[in-house]
């Protein structure tokens, strides 16, 4: 296959990082991307019936793997995983541990309101004195895109969002982030919060050794702090079905263009 855009080579070369670094990776659970989206309780709750739960892809593919790469480059790194949610999050966090990470923490709390979730993470992170906090760019269920920035405000720590590359040089991070219509490279001293997306790392599959090892890694449950929710879900609904496709003969693409201009008024 021909490659016209360079593959990220990061992770392979050793980064010069400060030793004994502590990284916190935020892990959330989401329905599998093929899950049927349906609601119960008068359309006020997502129906988990028959739904397969997965690690939010941004957390699994990018932020966790990049943290693991940093540890591979320097074994003195400690990786902690945190999830805020009920006991049903445990299979997800075990799977994350199977990919890598030293220890996991679950804060027992309903995860209905981003603010409450962020406050739990912030207070946990504060006591852990982390050098780096990684989140995904967003969860693929509620598409909040909020937790990283909220934690940054709660802890008054610098925040870089939508990171596509991450390098360390001593106590300094060099982060490439997406901006509208391009990319920007920025630098910041640790401690730092980074929200991660595609480019940061390449997806990995847990191996047998990882899966076996994850069974004995510590997973601690912590009681939530009490915080007042700022929002509540009022209801859900599904988009209206499409009316049906209008097919145009492959011999007459100009007819399609005419319809787009005159009927759809789209061009």
């Amino acid at each position: 296959m021909q490659t016209i855009f360079a593959t990220p080579e990061q992770g392979k070369e050793p980064t010069q990082q400060k030793s004994d670094m502590k990284i916190l990776v935020c892990i959330s659970k989401t329905p599998d991307t093929t899950a049927k989206i349906a609601f119960t309780d008068n359309n006020t709750k997502f129906s988990g019936d028959g739904v397969q739960w997965i690690i939010n892809p941004y957390d699994e593919w990018y932020s966790l793997v990049r943290a693991i790469e940093l540890k591979e480059a320097d074994p003195s790194v400690t990786i902690h995983l945190i999830t805020v949610g009920g006991a049903d999050c445990e299979p997800i966090i075990r799977k994350a541990l199977a990919l890598g990470g030293d220890e996991a923490f679950r804060i027992q709390c309903e995860e209905n309101d981003s603010y409450v979730v962020a406050m739990q993470i912030a207070s946990f992170a504060k006591s852990g004195q982390y050098d780096l906090i990684f989140t995904g760019k967003e969860t693929i269920d509620y598409n909040g895109s909020s937790i990283g920035a909220m934690v940054s405000a709660a802890l008054d720590l610098p925040f870089v969002s939508h990171a596509t590359k991450f390098q360390l040089n001593g106590n300094n991070a060099l982060v490439t982030r997406e901006i509208e219509g391009g990319e920007e490279i920025c630098s910041a001293a640790l401690p730092l919060i980074v929200s991660c997306q595609k480019g940061m790392a390449e997806q990995r599959i847990p191996n047998m050794k990882g899966i076996m090892g994850a069974r004995t890694k510590p997973l601690k449950t912590i009681e939530a702090e009490s915080h007042q929710a700022q929002t509540s879900i009022s209801n859900f609904d599904l988009p209206p079905a499409k009316a049906g496709v209008k097919l145009i003969s492959p011999e007459q693409p100009e007819e399609l263009i005419r319809l787009l201009q005159e009927e759809a008024k789209a061009i």
Binding site: S146, M150, H162, R177, Q230, F236, L238, P253
Partner: protein, 321 residues
């Protein structure tokens, strides 16, 4: 009530999303019998008083050393100061990369409930509920904001821009200049490209195009239509196209007026990110491709034959125009 709209500049220019946010704020002001003001950071050659035609009464323009490059934390602190000074109750942002990295910070700093990705004006008759798309476009949800102060980040391409009359009062405003901890070292812009989330038209290619050497079909059609280009995930994964073009559930979610999908099968994860497009056109040689179920117009045919003819047809109508 007092509404404050954060207006984004891109290289000193007002962005399309900024006009959408201004109109949204202006319309919300009308709905609630209040005023909408705007805040702009950094140098610009634009005449900011024109925001008045979109519903804005006063523009507070802040220029200091912290506004020259983007540090989310520093920007949030400055906005919080303006909110305090103006006693604003409702903040409006664009749900862009910038908006997403500052609106949630203000939510914490001001104890103001936040909804990101709003697609409609809030319902304010009984409480305050904001509609957003969830599950990457597979569903919608209405969210109640329970706090006194409220923040909404408006999804780009979701709110109509209408220009009226009027001119806004522009005044420069001082804030403290917070320490900039995230320093921008270099910027790489793909020049001349239409931004994907703001584009009216998006032309997108999938694995059906066989290889990057055939992308001229997509880019030429896009250029003729003034469209942005996008791709399916596997195409970005094998680096035929850059990552930032990847749309779908694990890429960028878009809602253009017109989405043209060429050689894309229409997997559920792809549809999730594009099904809020107003009109969807699918070119695929397989009549069973699931994308046709989500399409408004379709051609069952070989892209290598169909697309060049589409390009010719567009050229013709552009010549007539």
């Amino acid at each position: 009530m007092n509404i404050l709209v954060y207006i984004e500049l891109n290289e000193g220019k007002l962005k399309k999303a900024a006009f959408e946010a201004a109109c949204y704020g202006g319309d919300l002001a009308k709905q609630t019998g209040s005023t909408a003001n705007a805040i702009v950071f950094g140098e610009t050659n634009e005449d900011l008083s024109t925001l008045g035609a979109y519903g804005i009464s006063n523009v507070y323009h802040v220029i200091n050393s912290a506004t020259y490059s983007f540090d989310a934390r520093a920007f949030s602190k400055m906005i919080a100061e303006v909110v305090q000074k103006q006693s604003s109750d409702i903040l409006i942002f664009s749900n862009t990369i910038t908006g997403k990295s500052i609106a949630p910070q203000l939510s914490v700093m001001l104890k103001a409930g936040l909804v990101t990705g709003a697609i409609e004006l809030p319902k304010t008759s009984n409480g305050f509920t904001v509609k957003k798309s969830v599950f990457s476009g597979k569903a919608f949800s209405e969210i109640n904001i329970l706090t006194e102060k409220k923040i909404i980040a408006l999804q780009p391409n979701s709110y109509n821009v209408s220009k009226g009359e009027g001119s806004a009062q522009v005044q420069s405003m001082e804030t403290s200049s917070p320490e900039v901890k995230v320093k921008v070292e270099s910027v790489q812009k793909v020049s001349g490209e239409v931004s994907l989330t703001e584009a009216d038209i998006v032309v997108s290619g999938g694995r059906g195009l066989k290889g990057p050497e055939n992308w001229g079909l997509v880019t030429e059609l896009a250029q003729l239509l003034g469209a942005a280009t996008a791709c399916s995930r596997p195409v970005a994964d094998v680096h035929w196209r850059p990552h930032h073009e990847h749309v779908g559930q694990t890429g960028i979610a878009i809602a253009p007026n017109l989405y043209i999908a060429i050689g894309i099968s229409g997997a559920i994860q792809h549809l999730a990110g594009v099904n809020r497009s107003k009109t969807i056109v699918v070119i695929n040689k397989d009549p069973e491709a699931p994308f046709f179920k989500a399409a408004d117009y379709g051609i069952v045919g070989d892209a290598f034959e169909v697309v060049p003819k589409m390009i010719e047809a567009v050229k013709k109508i552009k010549q007539q125009a």
